[in-house]
């Protein structure tokens, strides 16, 4: 039986409001429509998992929340995405400002080719923090929150790329935490690192979610069941057709009593 973390905090917290509301979202790569008709509310202070087979558009959807897709020429978004009630695709919204509030962790750990310290200080420096004591404090606090401080406090001037894969990923998490986002997007953050490190990152997500809204894309259903409070299942039924969100709900329910037949088929391993 899978352990479902949502049960633990069932009555401990007050009802959670929607942090992100998506309404009728369509997404296009040029002429190709990748996503259609997605409407969903993502709750604050929790972990939402996006699951589904490869190529079902879950990463594409994730990148809509910090407008990372803007970097790919020819992409287009229809519909609305509200973050804290504010339309992030409205004219006048600067994606650069948005990305401070919506941090992102990638599949491949991507430390910058600079020291551990400079990696974490990069974001704060971008946004105008220059005083050394202040930076020192942010670096220490962020590494601590990422559960990496003990391992690196003696070697801060060393290159970020000298760390192990799992440590690199936690360094990237610290780097994001340093700019104090209230949403963190994680695009298959554990698929390129070893199992022990995966455990550390999952524990970390559990600690962070009290303050940060986390959305994780994962191929690993056990991981989705372990770490998330809500789960969304995506599916592209036919090649060339846009993908859609088949089902969304509390993780416990999605994994034990899915409403849609297709969700059940996927979860029980009949395809994907």
């Amino acid at each position: 039986m899978m352990h479902v973390s949502a049960d633990v905090r069932e009555d401990a917290t007050k009802p959670r409001a929607d942090k992100i509301s998506v309404k009728n979202l369509d997404f296009y790569y040029g002429d190709f429509q990748a996503l259609t008709g997605i409407t969903v509310g993502i709750k604050e202070r929790g972990v939402t998992a996006f699951i589904g087979p490869s190529g079902c558009g879950k990463s594409t959807f994730l990148r809509c929340f910090n407008r990372m897709n803007d970097l790919i020429p020819g992409t287009k978004v229809d519909g609305t995405i509200l973050v804290d009630g504010e339309d992030i695709y409205a004219p006048g919204v600067d994606p650069v400002d948005l990305r401070r509030r919506v941090g992102m962790i990638f599949q491949q750990p991507n430390p910058f080719p600079m020291s551990i310290y400079d990696n974490v200080a990069f974001g704060p420096r971008l946004h105008g923090v220059t005083k050394k004591p202040e930076l020192d404090e942010i670096v220490e606090r962020s590494l601590e929150r990422a559960n990496l401080w003990k391992e690196v406090k003696e070697i801060l001037p060393r290159g970020g790329l000298t760390l192990s894969g799992g440590q690199q990923q936690r360094l990237c998490i610290a780097r994001v935490l340093a700019v104090e986002p209230d949403i963190m997007l994680m695009d298959e953050p554990c698929s390129a690192i070893d199992p022990t490190s995966v455990q550390k990152i999952e524990d970390l997500m559990d600690e962070l979610k009290d303050r940060i809204t986390i959305i994780i894309v994962t191929h690993n259903m056990q991981q989705a069941a372990r770490v998330s409070d809500e789960t969304a299942f995506f599916l592209q039924e036919k090649t060339g057709q846009p993908a859609e969100m088949v089902e969304f709900g509390r993780t416990a329910e999605i994994f034990t009593s899915p409403k849609d037949r297709r969700t059940e088929d996927y979860i029980t391993g009949r395809f994907g």
Partner: protein, 276 residues
């Protein structure tokens, strides 16, 4: 059977060709070394030429070469690097960029003597700068520009996408990402290109003979004329006045260029190790 013979034959031919390349390089280096080593001495390097400039040392020509090369680097580095940054990061990839790239590649294949002639016409005469370090440096920078642009562009393109994403993901603007992440990450390879271009400039003769003049002179201001090592070598050898000194100059020149090339290789390898 037939297949085996063909295989052996092909392998021998390939070995022979590869061997020839190494042998030619080896022959040139050994020849110059054997003939030039007897000349090399502190006096030869650090004193002025004597008599009809055929005896004595070659100090002013070394200074002229280093001076003009340094000056050319100062000109070509910002222009070449920024042009490459623009092409790789900002320009909309399309017809215009293809034309610019083609122009840069064509510039690289212009014979250097034509570049020298052009430098003579434009800088020395039309602009009335005269034979000088700056005229030669400007003409040389035309020659170096395509090398610097090409290597820089490749260096920038080689910076992995996901590193840029990391920067954008933290709320960095395009320029912040380019200036703080992409260019520093590409720096070792950019430096390699710059050093290779420097090697090219040090060994260049045709361009400088037209633009720097030939007078033995220790240049101080960029408007001073001078005689670089390559031109000195040419005079010593072609006028047959002091062949041993020509070999000595040649050896020194080769050592300098070898030094630049080895530095470039070392930088690249060190960088590869750091990222691997």
């Amino acid at each position: 059977m037939n297949k085996r013979i063909a295989n052996r034959l092909a392998l021998s031919v390939l070995w022979l060709c590869a061997g020839t390349t190494v042998a030619v390089l080896g022959a040139v280096i050994i020849y110059v070394f054997v003939n030039g080593i007897g000349q090399l001495s502190p006096e030869f390097i650090f004193t002025w030429p004597q008599g009809v400039n055929a005896e004595g040392g070659i100090w002013p020509t070394i200074v002229s070469t280093l001076y003009v090369t340094g000056l050319a680097m100062l000109i070509v580095t910002p222009i070449g690097v920024l042009a490459a940054v623009f092409l790789a990061e900002y320009a909309v990839q399309g017809r215009l960029v293809r034309i610019i790239r083609f122009a840069a590649d064509s510039l690289a294949s212009v014979p250097s003597i034509i570049m020298g002639l052009f430098g003579l016409a434009l800088f020395v005469e039309t602009m009335h700068i005269g034979f000088s370090m700056i005229s030669a440096a400007l003409a040389l920078s035309f020659l170096m520009l395509p090398i610097v642009m090409r290597t820089t562009e490749e260096a920038i393109r080689a910076v992995p996408k996901y590193i840029r994403w990391g920067s954008y993901g933290l709320g960095a603007s395009k320029w912040q990402t380019v200036s703080r992440i992409v260019i520093p990450a590409a720096m070792p390879r950019i430096l390699t290109g710059l050093i290779l271009a420097t090697g090219r400039a040090v060994g260049e003769t045709a361009v400088v003979i037209f633009t720097m003049g030939q007078a033995i002179n220790l240049p101080i201001s960029p408007l001073d004329s001078g005689r670089p090592m390559t031109v000195h070598l040419y005079m010593l050898a072609m006028e047959g006045i002091n062949l041993p000194a020509a070999y000595g100059t040649a050896l020194l020149l080769m050592i300098m260029i070898l030094f630049f090339n080895l530095t470039a290789r070392w930088l690249l390898r060190r960088n590869r190790r750091m990222q691997g």
